[in-house]
Symmetry: C2
Subunit: 306 residues, 2 copies
C-alpha cells in the first residue's frame, strides 16, 4: 500500500480519543470536551512542571483567557500572526435590533457580523498579560512570572495536536540578556527531565513561529538563524511526525521595547518564556503509552503519582 | 454624612483587592488577573464543592471556554440575553488586507469590525456544552454531568462580583420532573452546608435571570412565580448588598425540547443545574473574613484545609 493511502485509511488519533471517551466532539474542529480522566492526567503532568518551576520561586498569576485590546495591539501579535487571532464582539442593540437578530438566526444568516468589537480578544499566548505589568525599571534580579491559561488560535484542524483552544503553562523571565539566556538554558535541561519522566520519544530542535504572509518566511529564517526559538518535539497526533510540546523563546528586546521594560542598569530589558502545551503533552503521553492509562509503564505511573 | 456620599467615598472592594495584590488590573472593567493566593483559595473552595458533589458520582467533563455556534443558537440564549453574548471573530485576509489592518490599528480605528464570525462564541454558562450530548433517550437513572469552565458575560462593571470572565462549576441533571426536582432540593441543602463551612452570612431567595428588553420583565415574573430559579446570596462587593454566589435552576423542558432530550418513559425530559460562582464565593470569603487569609477563623481555615 502506498504511504499516502495508508495515511488516508489510518483512523485519526482524534477519533480514537473520542471513541475512547477521552475527548468529546463539539462539531467544531479543534474544540473538544475533556473527560475527567484526561483532565486528571493533564493536571498530574502540570504538577511535574510546577515542581520543576518551584525551585525559582516564581510569582504565580492566573489570567482569564481574554486579553485587553491595548496590550494586544502593543504586543506585535497582529504584525506577525493576524490569521490566528480571535476578537470578541458584542450586541449593542435594543428591542428592534434584537428582533432583527433573531430573524437572522432563524434564516441561517451571519447574525453577528454587525456586532461591535469589545475591549478584549482571546488570549493568544498565556504570557501576554504579563508584559504591561513589567513596564518601568525591573528589580535587580529581574522578574519571573508563572502563568497558565486557555489560549485561542484560529486554525480549525482535525489534528488532535492542533486545537483551537488549549492550555499553556508559561514561565516568563525578564532581566538583562545574560540572565534571561542562562535561565532559558536551565529550563532546557528541566524540560528534558519532564519529557524523560513521561517516557516520550522527544527531541530538541531550533524552530520558528508560523509568521503570516510573504514577509513571514524571512522572519522565520531570521528567528532560526539566531536560535531564538527552541522546541522540544514528540509524536502527538501521529506516531511518525513530531509536534512541539514545549517551546523556549528568547524575545531579545521585542516585548521590552513595546512595553517600556528597562533592566536594572537602565538598558532596554530582555525577556524569554518557556511554554508547556498541556494538551499536547497529555496527548503525547497517550500516544506513546496507549489509551489505557492503567497499563502505562510503572515508572511513568510513578512520575504521575497514579 | 448622607448614605450616598458615604457610598461614593468608600473604596471599591475591587481596588482594595488590587492594592493587596489579590487581583491584578488589566485596564478592562471586570477582567482581572488572580494572584497565586486567590487561585489557591478558589481551588480550596472548589474542592469542598467536589466533595459535596462526589456522593452522586457525576460524569466529569471539562470544556474549553468557547461554545459551537449551533449549540448556542439552539440554546435560546440569544432570545433572552443577547446583551451578554461574546462572539468570536477572525481575520480572513491576505497580505493586502493585512497592511490595511495594521494601518487601522495605527490610526486607532476599529480594526476588527470587518472580521468574519468564527464557528464559536464565548461560553455564557458552563452547562451549555452538555445539552447536545444528551440528545435522544436518557438512561433510566437520567444523566448527571459535572462541568467547570470560564464563562463570559459582556457587562463591564467596577463591581468585583460582576466580572466579565469568571469560573462557574456546575452540575447538570437530566431525567423526569420528579427526579430533577428532588435532586435540586438535595443540592439546596448541600449548598447551605458549603456557605456555612465558609462562614458566609448567606440567605436563600427565589430569583430571576436578567432577561433582555421590554418582554424581559414578564419572563422574569413568570420565572419567579414558578420558583424556577433559587439563589444563595451573600455580601460580595459590598458588606450591605447581597450577590448570588450559588444558583439552582429548574429548566422544566426548555433545554430538552431544544435538544431533543427524552426521558426513559418517552416523555420530554426535564433538566436542572446547580451553578457555583467560584470567583464570587472566593470574594465573599475575603469580604467576610478580611483580606489577610492567615487571620481567617480557625473553623474556616480547617474547612479549606489551610
Amino acid at each position: 500500500m502506498a504511504p499516502s493511502a495508508a495515511a488516508a485509511t489510518a483512523p485519526l488519533f482524534r477519533d480514537e480519543l473520542i471513541e475512547r471517551g477521552l475527548l468529546v466532539a463539539t462539531g467544531v474542529p479543534g474544540v473538544y470536551g475533556r473527560s475527567g480522566e484526561f483532565e486528571d492526567t493533564l493536571m498530574r503532568i502540570d504538577r511535574i512542571i510546577d515542581t520543576l518551576g518551584a525551585h525559582d520561586e516564581p510569582e504565580v498569576l492566573r489570567f482569564p483567557p481574554v486579553l485587553d485590546r491595548q496590550t494586544f495591539e502593543r504586543s506585535g501579535f497582529l504584525d506577525s500572526f493576524p490569521h490566528l487571532i480571535g476578537t470578541v464582539h458584542a450586541f449593542g442593540g435594543r428591542d428592534r435590533e434584537h428582533r432583527d437578530l433573531l430573524r437572522a438566526v432563524e434564516n441561517g444568516a451571519q447574525w453577528s457580523a454587525q456586532f461591535a468589537p469589545t475591549a478584549v480578544v482571546l488570549t493568544p499566548a498565556a504570557c501576554y498579560p504579563t508584559y504591561p505589568m513589567m513596564t518601568g525599571r525591573l528589580p535587580r534580579a529581574g522578574r519571573l512570572i508563572d502563568v497558565l491559561s486557555y489560549c485561542f488560535r484560529h486554525e480549525p484542524s482535525d489534528d488532535a495536536g492542533r486545537m483551537q483552544m488549549f492550555r499553556m503553562h508559561e514561565y516568563v523571565r525578564a532581566g538583562n540578556a545574560a540572565t534571561v539566556l542562562a535561565w532559558r538554558t536551565r529550563w532546557l535541561g528541566r524540560a528534558k527531565r519532564l519529557v524523560d519522566a513521561l517516557g516520550l520519544a522527544a527531541r530538541t530542535d531550533v524552530a520558528s513561529d508560523p509568521f503570516f504572509g510573504r514577509a513571514g518566511a524571512l522572519l522565520a529564517d531570521s528567528q532560526r538563524n539566531q536560535q531564538l526559538k527552541l522546541e522540544i518535539l514528540a509524536p502527538v497526533a501521529n506516531p511518525a511526525t513530531l509536534t512541539a510540546v514545549i517551546s523556549l523563546n528568547y524575545h531579545q528586546t521585542h516585548f521590552a521595547e513595546r512595553f517600556g521594560i528597562t533592566a536594572d542598569d537602565g538598558a532596554t530589558g530582555h525577556t524569554a518564556c518557556v511554554g508547556f502545551g498541556l494538551e499536547r503533552l497529555t496527548l503525547a503521553a497517550y500516544r506513546r503509552h496507549g489509551l489505557d492509562r492503567k497499563r502505562w509503564p510503572a515508572p511513568m505511573r510513578e512520575a504521575l503519582d497514579l
